[in-house]
């Protein structure tokens, strides 16, 4: 009977976790401006409204630009750090890696406020680039966590074998290292992209007059009549996130399979 109790607990837990998200599509197609049951009828109006709001399009483009740039920057930095952390030993390695990983557990509000203070002190005007800097900071730990796995799974003598067969360190990286950690790189790009896309606090503090999508959404909440439109947008974002995460996991697993390694965790 103990087993059944835990089973009920697990189901309740999942309902608590995901029920609110299921409400998004429900009200996104509901023909009524008030977010309440009973449902009024089926409509595509809110999705049509999305298509005809220029400010929303601008925010979306801002977010996409930030997310892509952040993903590339964080993955490059993560690649260097992960390789150094798994391949070399150097003085102060543990504290250095520890400090790089710290933003993972640091409250975002603290990161956001301190970044804002520094940017203003330095006299930098707030722009998309200040948000990119903030997002890169919080994405690098995720990138390292993923890529460290890729490097750790890779037999070190593979690189030595390539050098032994006449390749330079650079061509070895291109011909052997890069293809083998590529699944990790793709997974890192996708996850950093997703994190940056829906990040709110840092974007809110560091955006000037160019809002990102989450910041724009927050602004719209002041207008109750716009709520169903936000539900429609939320529905699209949830779908997009799920697709991205599944793609990232697919590449991670394919990488393991190719290297003939057992699966030892991951994000999904």
């Amino acid at each position: 009977m103990k087993g059944r109790g835990l089973h009920v607990y697990a189901v309740l837990y999942l309902v608590f976790l995901y029920a609110p998200i299921i409400l998004l599509p429900v009200f996104a197609f509901n023909d009524g401006t008030i977010i309440a049951f009973p449902l009024q009828g089926f409509t595509f109006d809110w999705f049509r409204a999305l298509a005809t709001t220029p400010a929303l399009h601008e925010a979306t483009l801002n977010s996409l630009f930030i997310a892509v740039t952040t993903a590339v920057l964080a993955t490059c930095l993560g690649l260097f750090a992960a390789r150094a952390a798994t391949r070399y030993s150097f003085p102060g390695k543990a504290p250095i890696v520890g400090f790089i990983m710290l933003p993972l557990v640091l409250p975002e509000i603290i990161v956001a406020i301190s970044l804002l203070v520094i940017m203003l002190q330095l006299g930098l005007s707030l722009s998309l680039w200040t948000i990119i800097a903030g997002h890169t900071l919080i994405c690098v730990p995720f990138s390292i966590a993923i890529l460290q796995g890729s490097f750790a799974n890779m037999d070190r003598s593979l690189e030595e074998a390539a050098v032994d067969l006449g390749e330079t360190p650079l061509s070895t990286f291109r011909l052997v290292t890069l293809p083998l950690v590529m699944p990790g790189i793709i997974a890192s790009l996708l996850i950093c992209f997703t994190i940056s896309l829906d990040e709110f606090i840092i974007a809110f503090f560091l955006s000037g007059n160019e809002p990102t999508l989450p910041v724009y959404l927050w602004g719209q909440l002041r207008f109750p009549a716009r709520l169903p439109v936000i539900m429609a947008l939320g529905t699209i974002l949830v779908l997009l996130s799920v697709v991205l995460l599944i793609t990232a996991e697919f590449f991670r697993r394919r990488g393991l399979r190719r290297a003939g390694l057992p699966d030892s965790g991951g994000f999904l």
Binding site: D155, S157, E160, A162, V163, D164, L165, G166, L180, R258
Partner: protein, 366 residues
């Protein structure tokens, strides 16, 4: 005087040292490895054999001394520019490439046409018994097949020296035995110098022309397998290679190239100077004797030298029986191996036995 029939040295190691911080991993290695020989570096883990192999390959910088490869000092020459190729312990087969791409990897910079490359890859795969495997995915291969691909990949570049880092340790017993003879055959066929690192003394004895036994960063003995087994240079080498009995003895005198020793339980023996790797000064010493150099005498058999004793332990292996026999007047039991034959009984514990022995099989350790 130089021996004119002996092949020239392909690798010369001159007082090679390697430090890792304070740790002295190689302590003055001096040796010559000859053109076309199968050379083994044998020793327990941590003896520096892999470090030495990696130093020859160019993966480790040495802290002192010189490594000459075909007469050229390898100082400052990177692993990618040395005429050596390596078979790694893990085989290091590139998992993202096909078998053929793996084997042809080193030909990328050779500047030859595609057809020529394909032909060479095909030949190399044929040589290791994997003809027709070129298009297969590398990660789908078995352990033995990976080993063969690694060999083909290294040999396709026709290196002056092939380095093998414990290449058989990941294989099961049967596969290992098969690969031992195959490696030996391959080495004779291509005529390239092979340097094998192994901790398995049997493997080294089976495969090598010469073996360097290493302990704590030093070569304890460098000799052909038979010499190594028959005349170990120290007690430690004798213990490491096969089984050896060590009996306390007393050196009585040394005269006319013969060393007289008294061995409790066996009696008096005259040893040639060649049987004494160390100094043979009168006084306490030890005699080394292989289990197969002692013979249990059965009814009616006689021998020149006989020592009586009592069977303390019997271990039956099917083809062989090992006895622990305490000789009358000796402090410890000796191990004796006897081949089992039709009509030859297996003695039981407590049985008395007469042992025949031969002074020529003894080695004296000072």
């Amino acid at each position: 005087m130089k021996d004119m029939t002996s092949p020239p040295a392909i690798i010369t190691l001159e007082d090679v040292h390697k430090y890792y911080g304070d740790y002295h991993a190689l302590r003055g290695i001096t040796a010559e490895i000859k053109q076309g020989e199968f050379f083994s570096l044998l020793g327990p883990s941590g003896c520096g054999k892999t470090t030495l192999l990696r130093a020859i390959a160019g993966f480790e910088d040495i802290s002192g001394g010189r490594i000459l490869l075909d007469g050229t000092d390898m100082e400052g020459v990177g692993a990618n520019r040395r005429p050596t190729n390596m078979v790694f312990q893990s085989y290091a087969i590139f998992p993202h490439l096909s078998v053929g791409e793996n084997v042809g990897f080193g030909l990328r910079k050779a500047g030859m046409g595609k057809a020529e490359k394909t032909r060479l890859v095909g030949e190399a795969l044929e040589m290791v018994g994997l003809g027709g495997y070129g298009a297969r995915a590398a990660h789908a291969l078995s352990g033995g097949q990976r080993q063969r691909v690694a060999l083909a990949r290294a040999l396709i570049l026709k290196p002056k020296v092939l380095l093998l880092d414990e290449p058989l340790s990941a294989l099961d017993k049967k596969m290992r035995e098969q690969m031992q003879s195959e490696l030996r055959r391959l080495q004779r066929q291509v005529g390239i110098t092979f340097i094998l690192v192994t901790h398995d003394q049997e493997e080294a004895l089976i495969m090598s022309d010469r073996i360097a036994v290493m302990f704590e960063g030093e070569i304890a003995q460098l000799a052909p397998p038979q010499d190594l087994y028959r005349r170990p240079a120290s007690k430690r080498v004798g213990q490491f290679i096969g089984m050896m009995n060590f009996l306390p003895a007393t050196v009585l005198s040394e005269a006319g190239g013969e060393v007289q020793v008294e061995v409790p339980g066996l009696g008096r023996a005259g040893l040639a100077r060649a049987q004494c790797p160390g100094p043979a000064a009168p006084g306490a010493a030890e005699i080394g004797l292989r289990p197969e150099s002692l013979t249990v005498l059965f009814d009616g058999q006689g021998a020149e030298r006989v020592a009586p004793g009592t069977v303390e332990e019997v271990t039956y292996y099917g083809d062989m029986t090992y006895y622990d026999i305490r000789l009358d007047g000796a402090p410890n039991a000796v191990s004796v191996s006897m081949r089992n034959m039709p009509g030859r009984p297996v003695l039981e514990r407590g049985h008395t036995a007469n042992l025949a022995w031969d002074a020529r099989a003894m080695v004296l350790f000072g």
